[in-house]
Symmetry: C2
Subunit: 452 residues, 2 copies
């Protein structure tokens, strides 16, 4: 099980706050990941500019209808990335920037050096005109940066069906190019510019020693809906200064995403714009990692997964209307994928989420969500615990102190903490974790009032 | 597309009401179902006692913790059913009464003559003790009715993980047996006794002329959660006086359920107790129907499907916190199952449901939910309309009057009407309909406060 290192919670600036409590964002610290010559570094105020070889910026382009906070973000790797990877929504109705970025990454031997991200409009379900907007955006950026157009990746977030305000965007592209910097402030501006209903910007970085060199990974993401990714979008950008083979980097991002971002959304409920991209600058000075079975590759994988888990937990914590993080740990399944599925099913159950909001230890809803998750298991092997309180063992309900269990939920909600649900479904080796949040009145309020 | 016949909405008696507006429940009237020598009869005040050969009752056994309204229901076919069928939850964590009823129906040549239903406790996730409670309940009923124990089906609804209060139930079984009657009042008592957070009892009946005889179908159901079936349970009981082959009757119930009850729940999100059973008394005097390709079988199938659709729409209309019925009609898919899946995906999208509650014609969320439904389609063939307003055509968003579209939503909400969403995904022959409701603050309130 993960332990946590408390980290100061950054706040998105210049925006209307939905609530006032200061929240604590955490970076997970995997206890089994303490390699002899290395250790975790928590760099809470840093982000995509932490690794060597990256610049970032964020500026207000006037794309948001209701706020003047930054809404255009740029991440730049001036010397070009040695490896670039991306994972994208499986939704058939995918946004123009998704299709565009897939094409850029799909070109054999192509170098990637920039990621341009806008908030305000999702540029999804915008037909052929939206597609042209994506092409024009990349062309405009390439002109200002002095790079080929096919070196830029695109991400958009906002209202589905709305085209980007391209004139406003084009007017601001010179500004984000001019503001590019490797400072922490630039990383913060960049992470702030991609937020939508997020209460906090989400940015972090970690370091790991590989091959005698310090390798740094930075990341930012946005998203604050939990039943479905918010506003049609979960976006993430990971930067790293490692030198690595391009194909291996893609596989690593896929693995890290499966263990993190894919465990905070309902299975199949990927939205039109969901995207995580990862660029490696190769500036750390390590020998290029090309063998996936090497200890260096395994170490990097753990660091990348941990970074992504830290980011994805920030999203769950910042779920629309959320008061508490739900962490569902499933063990004893036949396979890792089975465990992940069961964990996702529980963490996305509206009934279970509502019960947590109501401080109601209604564990039957947890058993129910495990039962319809899909994977087969023996119900006579089912154990369920809420925090430290065992509620079911070997399929038999246990007598428990309902007041104490309710008090546990209340205590975690009061500190915006973590509600842990442990589920064991058998004696198999499959284990998985998923994250969610409670379902509150505010979720409905936020989503009922979004476009109008 | 279905047209509607307005029917007076019955109300569950003796309970705290969640809201005050009188609602209109409707029975669908399929325009293509007007056989030459027959017609639909709407019998809004009738239910499971409408067909010949059935008695029913409902009584207060003290099983509910917070109310003294009826909570124990009995349906009885004194001469034994000529055909008995059931469809059950796919949830691994299924309730003891589900397992018990499956066993009863699975015995070759076994006659079924009774259905005993309790509200208050779901008897799910109750381990071996809960299983024994189910066996004891059937034994107690058989003693009072003077029938073999394996002639009774069981259904339970209420809190998962709680055992039935068997002493209270056994005390009330003589009463429900004594009260058995073929009156409309008895059908109403019976339908009321199975409700939980339902605002209205759900009961209806229709007639169709088959083989020169009037065949009557009656039904009742309960359930009022829409994201997941409420309180772990959607229950339904169908009675009919037709004479029919047992296996054919089972197939017909499966088909009717696929077109109705299975279209109001999220795919795979079946709860621990979901059950629909159907008994046929054979008293109508028709020649036994045994050929599924006969016109009689087809006529009966249509009537049975329509009855189940009428009942399932009552559930959607009465969704927890619901203000309006969502009807999602999907056409042009490659298959009927594809169309159903896409319709279900849209009708169960929390974002789309929240938008309707907010009177927000945010059609991008409809496109998004279609895109992640699973079935493949060409996004350049996607048409979307909200009521009479076209929003997207051939994958291109159309300019539309947002105020008028919002006014349509408001108007339907004001009269507790129907919000219709039409989606066309291509030129295929697959069509399907799904029903849902808006997602309001009250949904969260109801589910956050349920057990405590």
């Amino acid at each position: 099980m993960a332990t946590f290192v408390s980290v100061r919670g950054p706040r998105a600036s210049g925006r209307t706050e939905r609530r006032h409590a200061v929240r604590c964002l955490c970076i997970p610290r995997a206890p089994d990941f303490v390699p002899p010559s290395s250790h975790w570094l928590s760099l809470p105020d840093r982000g995509v500019t932490a690794p060597l070889g990256f610049l970032a910026s964020g500026a207000a382009a006037g794309l948001r209808s209701s706020s003047d906070r930054p809404d255009l973000a740029l991440v730049f790797c001036p010397d070009g990335a040695v490896a670039a990877a991306g994972v994208f929504t499986q939704n058939l109705v995918c946004a123009a920037p998704v299709t565009y970025s897939k094409e850029v990454l799909g070109k054999p031997g192509n170098t990637v050096s920039a990621v341009l991200i806008n908030a305000g409009q999702a540029n999804a379900a915008t037909g052929s005109l939206g597609w042209q907007d994506a092409i024009d955006s990349a062309a405009e950026l390439s002109k200002c940066l002095g790079i080929p157009a096919d070196e830029a990746l695109l991400q958009s977030t906002g209202v589905i069906g709305q085209r980007i305000k391209v004139e406003d965007m084009f007017g601001a592209i010179p500004k984000v190019v001019e503001d590019l910097s490797d400072t922490d402030a630039a990383a913060k501006d960049c992470a702030t510019a991609i937020t939508t209903t997020d209460l906090v910007y989400k940015s972090t970085a970690i370091q790991v020693e590989i091959d005698g060199r310090v390798v740094t990974l930075g990341g930012m993401c946005k998203g604050s809906g939990m039943i479905h990714p918010n506003m049609a979008t979960m976006l993430g950008v990971v930067t790293c200064d490692v030198d690595i083979d391009n194909k291996l980097w893609q596989n690593m991002l896929k693995e890290a995403t499966d263990e993190s971002f894919n465990q905070i959304s309902v299975d199949g409920d990927t939205s039109t714009n969901d995207t995580v991209v990862a660029l490696a600058s190769g500036k750390a000075g390590n020998s290029k990692i090309a063998d996936e079975t090497s200890s260096e590759a395994k170490l990097l994988q753990r660091a990348l997964t941990a970074l992504c888990q830290g980011l994805c937990k920030m999203i769950a914590w910042d779920g629309e209307g959320a008061n508490v993080l739900m962490e569902v740990i499933v063990e004893g399944a036949d396979s890792r994928e089975d465990a992940r599925k069961i964990a996702r099913s529980i963490s996305s159950s509206s009934l279970a989420k509502s019960a947590i909001f109501g401080q109601d230890p209604n564990w039957g809803r947890i058993a129910c969500a495990a039962g319809y998750a899909g994977p087969k298991f023996d119900v006579n092997s089912l154990d369920i615990a809420l925090g430290e309180t065992k509620l079911m063992e070997k399929g038999q309900p246990l007598p428990f102190d309902a007041e104490a269990a309710s008090a546990y939920l209340k205590a975690q909600i009061d500190v915006r903490g973590v509600v842990q649900i442990h589920v064991k479904v058998g004696e198999g080796h499959g284990a998985g974790v998923a994250w969610g949040c409670d379902l509150s009145y505010d979720y409905v309020k936020i989503n009922a009032e979004y476009t109008t």
